[in-house]
Every structure is written in structure tokens, then in C-alpha cells.
Symmetry: C2
Subunit: 348 residues, 2 copies
């Protein structure tokens, strides 16, 4: 029977990294349908023939990898699964309309547990005015895998691809970065203590912000709305799911440019700094911002002529600009550090 | 920490069955977007405001549950994952345009293995003129879960819901039924023999048709095309993924009607009959047709006035008609058997 033939010439998934893997798997495909405006390679596929384009995107969360049932309430999980998929619609400057949900789940879960999950899904649907339009439910051998496909739309002239950044454009980011990862660090620390001593009560007071950032992220449609009100269409946009460094590299690669971002301009919450100082003397908050990911903030570029419009926007930070050099971060001491993306190891 | 609170008042998934579970999980949701024409409850969601509606559907395959890596070549698996999702587009009388693919996969799989999977995905995309427009790749703790969301479209006046069957309409089915399940029975038999005696060479000669039906099903867009050429729009349609009995009950429930199908009219291939007779004296081919599922044929109803147009269509069989009574099968001895759907246990 089958199964062993893939042992020869075996390349481990970890050797390639997520994005090189996706490139390799999808390289033989070509678009045949004229309604496929943009296929693989951005936050969403862009589909349709009219002025208003359709956006489609999918995100998958897997138990034990992207979430840990030990500290993830099912209602939060349902909310998050929807939120991270909708975040891709926001990253194209679009409006979300519907989702379809696929779940593979083992019989370890009860009907009541799935009802909790769906209560979270519903909460996020209601919060962002999105309809649950379908799905599929399968049993799995172990654990839970949940995939949410989100559907939205956007006028052609407002679509923000990753590829549109131009020389000198200002690089902006919403909210703050590194807080979701800091929340994860706290949860992992408390879990380790609990496992060593099951009578232990977890200490979560004072970490409410970073915990919420990790457990219940929000897609930034408020920023999409704000940009619209200000009359700004970003030249490029992406959501921060894998960390600032990785997202900047996506924009630079696809826009064929470089960038300079200033370390001191990268927005970091005080709870993030506090968690870092508790964890280790050597843990810098900016590292969490660069590499932590899962913040689901929007990273975007605007023309310098939009500076006056953007500079006073609440919760938008101008952190640098597009160059024709390499993608670098400038430290307060004025040295430059080349930006590198992390692999696909720590996915939680 | 969390996790134990779902023990009280616990309802097992198996107690409810798949469709009752979906009803229960989705009952609190209501449609808010006017572009949601049809949400949960048919083969596809129907979306959009214009004359041409968009169709969206998703199907999930899980290792160890819906497929067994012991006898499922990865290329076939990729093909099948796309085919079963496209089949839902066919079941709405639509045209498929794009897919997005989500995969959760453990590091037991190599890059080369995933390339095999994607070769199958590509083959099915090419065969049905469909674009791969996006996806997500996540690592999983164990095994593989693959979800394919398919996107298509159809003119409003040609959409076939499950709910449209009318009294006296003729019930038709394409191809033959029970063969996919018979293929699975052969594979499971050979696997059991192999596990008892690892030196054993599986005997698969003479089962080529039923094996292909299980391992590499095809969405019946040829039937959609044929109906179009004949000028027939079915009054209701569904694809046969869970067995004829289950699909007939869906149509009857949603169309608020009953049906009579004639046992001797249900199309069964000779390899299906052969497998049944080999397996057990008591295994009837019609049971595989009624309950086996995974044939991905189209089951549809047409007005009696379309009889002349449909009666000579190759590979379409008229198996009964819609009544205002109960959903029943009539045996050759003229007794009637009430149709019942199987639970969600045997999912392979």
C-alpha cells in the first residue's frame, strides 16, 4: 500500500518556512477565470468583474498549535477565529459581509462545548455585522481545527494590495504591537506553574489588556472607516498577524522597495514592557512587536501628501518611510538593523 | 483554569447527529446583510444583489475520519478535496470559478508529500476550469485536515434549492449509487488483511471502478450542462454525499412533501453488486445506495412536463416521484419501506 514513498528526498516543513512553502505549493497554478483579479499572494483573493470587487480569505486555527485549550475559553476561540479572518478583509480596505465556518472536532467535545464556540462566533458576527452563511462540521481523530472563510467587498479604486507602496511613502501602524504575544507569554507562564502545582491559582490580575489582545483580537474596521472619513486610501496595506518585521518584508518584497522604521516610533503598551521586564532582563518589548505577531493591527503606507491628514489620527502611528534600499530598523543610537522574518515555529 | 466546566449537562455529539447539531449550533443566527440571499441550510450559500448570484460552499476532510492515509494516495486526496466541494456548486446548478484551500498538517508530512497533494488539487482545478485563489497553511498536532471553500455563480432563475420540489415532480438521479461505499469496503477489507499479514499484496484487480468512485469522485458538471442544453431547470437539487435516503429526506423536509422511489429503478453498478455479495450474504446493494454516500451524483426533481426531455438522457435515471405522503421506497414486491437517514458515524 502507499505511504512510505515520500521518505526519499524528504524536505521537512520546518526547513522551508510558511511563505516559501506556500510559494512552492502554488507555483504551478495559473489563473483561468477572468473574474480572478488577484489570486494567491495577498491578504484576500480579489474576485469579480464589476466595479465592486469581492474579497475572499480564509484562516485556520488548530488546537495545540494556534491555540491551547488549557487557557482558551471556547467562546473566545469562536470570536477569535472569526476576528482573524475578518482582519484580512480590513487589510484590503474592504467591508466584511459573510463567513462560512468549517470545524473538525473530536468526540472529546460535547454539544454544549460547541455551543459555547458558536456563541463566540455569533458575538463577533454581530459586532461586525457579518452573516454566518454556511459551513461544514466533521469529526476529527483528535482535537479541533476551525477554518473561517470570510467574504467581503470593496470598490476597485479603494483596494489596498501589498504591492502598491511607493518611494518616500509614510509607513503607519494602528494601535500597539507586541501586546498579543505578551499576553501569550503570561498565559504560558501561568500554565507552566499550574502544571508544576495543580493547586495553584493563576495570577492574571494586571495583565487584562495583553490577555485580551491575545485571546480576543479585533479586526480594525474602525481604522478602515477612519481612513475613509479622512479621504485617505493607503497605497499598500497588510494586517499584522506574523509580526511587524514579517509584514514589512511582505510589503517591501511585493512593492519592490525597502524601508526605514524607527525603533522609538514603534508603539508598545506599558503592559507589554512590564511583561518583558518580568520575563527576562534580555527581553526587549520591540522584539515582541517585531516578531510576536497576532496583534491584528493594520500596517499601511500613505503618500507624503497625506501627512497632514494622517498625523493627528488617533491610534495611528507614523513609524517610518519607504526607501529604495534594504528593509531596516533605525535604533535610537542611529544604527540600522536589517529586518528579518521569523520562521513558522511559534504559531500560537 | 478553564476546560472542565463543560462536563455538567454534557450531550455527546453522537447523540444528536450531524444535521441536528448544525441546526442547534446555528439557530441563534439571523441574516443582517441584504446580500445574503440564502445562508445555512442548502448545498451552498447564495450571495449578492444582481441577477447573477454568487455561490459559496465549504467541505472539510479529516485524516483518520474522512480519509485513511493507509490507502489514500495524496494526489487523489487533493483531487477529492476539491471535487467534493465543487460538487456543491453543481448541486445548485451553478458554474464553479475559484477555490481557497486551508490545510492543517503535522510535521509528519514532508514538503514533497504536500506537493503531491497540491498536484491533485491542481489536476482537479484544471479539469473543471477553476482557479486556486488563496488559502491558509497551519501546522497541526497530528494528522491532516483539509478544507476547500468553492466559489461559483449562477443566474437567479436557474438556482436549484432543496426546497423547490412540487407534488408529482419526477425524482431523477445521475450515474449509479453505492459504488463509492463499495470501493471503501474493498479498501477496508484489504487493509485489515494487510494489517494481519504485512507481507500480503492487496488484491485490487477487478475493483477499478468502485475504487475510483471512492478515491477520485467527480462533480457532475456534465449533468448541469446536459440539463441546460435540454432546457430543463430542476425544481430541486442536491448532491449525494450522505446516501440517497438522507438526500431524499433533505429534499422532502425542505420542500414539505413526501416521495416514492422504486427500489428496482435505483441505479447500481455490477461491481457494487459483486462487492456486496462477496462481503456478506445479507448485504444488499440497495443498502449501499441508500446509506453509503460519497457518490457525489446529483439527485434532482423535474416537472412532469419535462418527462419527454429527460427520459432519454444518458446517465439520468428516473427513480420515483414526489408525493404528499411519507418518504418511502417501494420494493419489487410492492411493499413500502419508510426512508431513514443514517447517523454521522461512518464518515469515510
Amino acid at each position: 500500500m502507499e505511504h512510505t514513498k515520500y521518505q526519499e528526498g524528504r524536505t521537512e516543513l520546518a526547513e522551508l518556512g510558511k511563505f516559501a512553502l506556500i510559494d512552492r505549493l502554488t507555483e504551478g497554478f495559473s489563473a483561468r477565470q477572468k473574474s480572478t483579479v488577484m489570486g494567491v499572494g495577498d491578504d484576500c483573493a480579489v474576485l469579480g468583474g464589476g466595479r465592486r470587487k469581492m474579497l475572499v480569505t480564509t484562516e485556520t486555527l488548530a488546537e495545540g498549535v494556534t491555540f491551547d485549550m488549557m487557557y482558551t475559553p471556547l467562546k473566545h476561540l469562536g470570536y477569535k477565529a472569526v476576528a482573524v479572518s475578518l482582519s484580512n478583509i480590513a487589510a484590503m480596505n474592504g467591508t466584511a459581509r459573510q463567513i462560512v465556518v468549517s470545524i473538525a472536532v473530536s468526540n472529546r467535545y460535547s454539544v454544549e462545548a460547541l455551543e459555547e464556540l458558536y456563541a463566540g462566533i455569533r458575538l463577533c458576527c454581530e459586532r461586525y455585522d457579518v452573516d454566518l452563511a454556511g459551513g461544514d462540521t466533521t469529526s476529527s481523530r483528535s482535537g479541533m481545527v476551525i477554518s473561517v472563510t470570510a467574504i467581503g467587498d470593496v470598490e476597485s479604486e479603494r483596494i489596498c494590495y501589498r504591492k502598491g507602496a511607493g518611494l518616500h511613502d509614510l509607513i503607519c501602524v494602528s494601535g500597539d504591537l507586541g501586546s498579543a504575544y505578551s499576553g501569550l507569554l503570561v498565559l504560558e507562564r501561568e500554565k507552566a506553574t499550574y502544571q508544576a502545582n495543580p493547586g495553584f491559582q493563576p495570577e492574571l490580575d494586571g495583565y487584562d489588556y495583553v490577555l485580551e489582545r491575545y485571546l480576543k483580537p479585533e479586526p480594525r474596521f474602525d481604522i478602515v472607516q477612519l481612513l475613509r472619513e479622512k479621504g485617505i486610501t493607503p497605497t499598500a496595506m497588510i494586517d499584522v498577524s506574523d509580526g511587524l518585521a514579517s509584514e514589512l518584508l511582505h510589503i517591501c518584497k511585493q512593492s519592490r522597495c525597502g524601508c526605514e522604521v524607527y525603533e522609538e516610533r514603534i508603539p508598545v503598551d506599558y503592559q507589554t514592557s512590564r511583561v518583558c521586564s518580568e520575563m527576562s532582563k534580555n527581553m526587549l518589548p520591540v522584539s515582541n512587536a517585531l516578531n510576536g505577531g497576532k496583534d491584528y493591527e493594520l500596517l499601511f503606507t500613505v503618500k507624503t501628501s497625506d501627512y497632514e491628514k494622517i498625523k493627528d489620527c488617533e491610534s495611528v502611528h507614523i513609524i517610518g518611510h519607504i526607501t529604495d534600499g534594504a528593509p531596516v530598523m533605525v535604533t535610537p543610537q542611529n544604527s540600522t538593523i536589517e529586518l528579518r522574518a521569523q520562521g513558522w515555529t511559534a504559531q500560537k
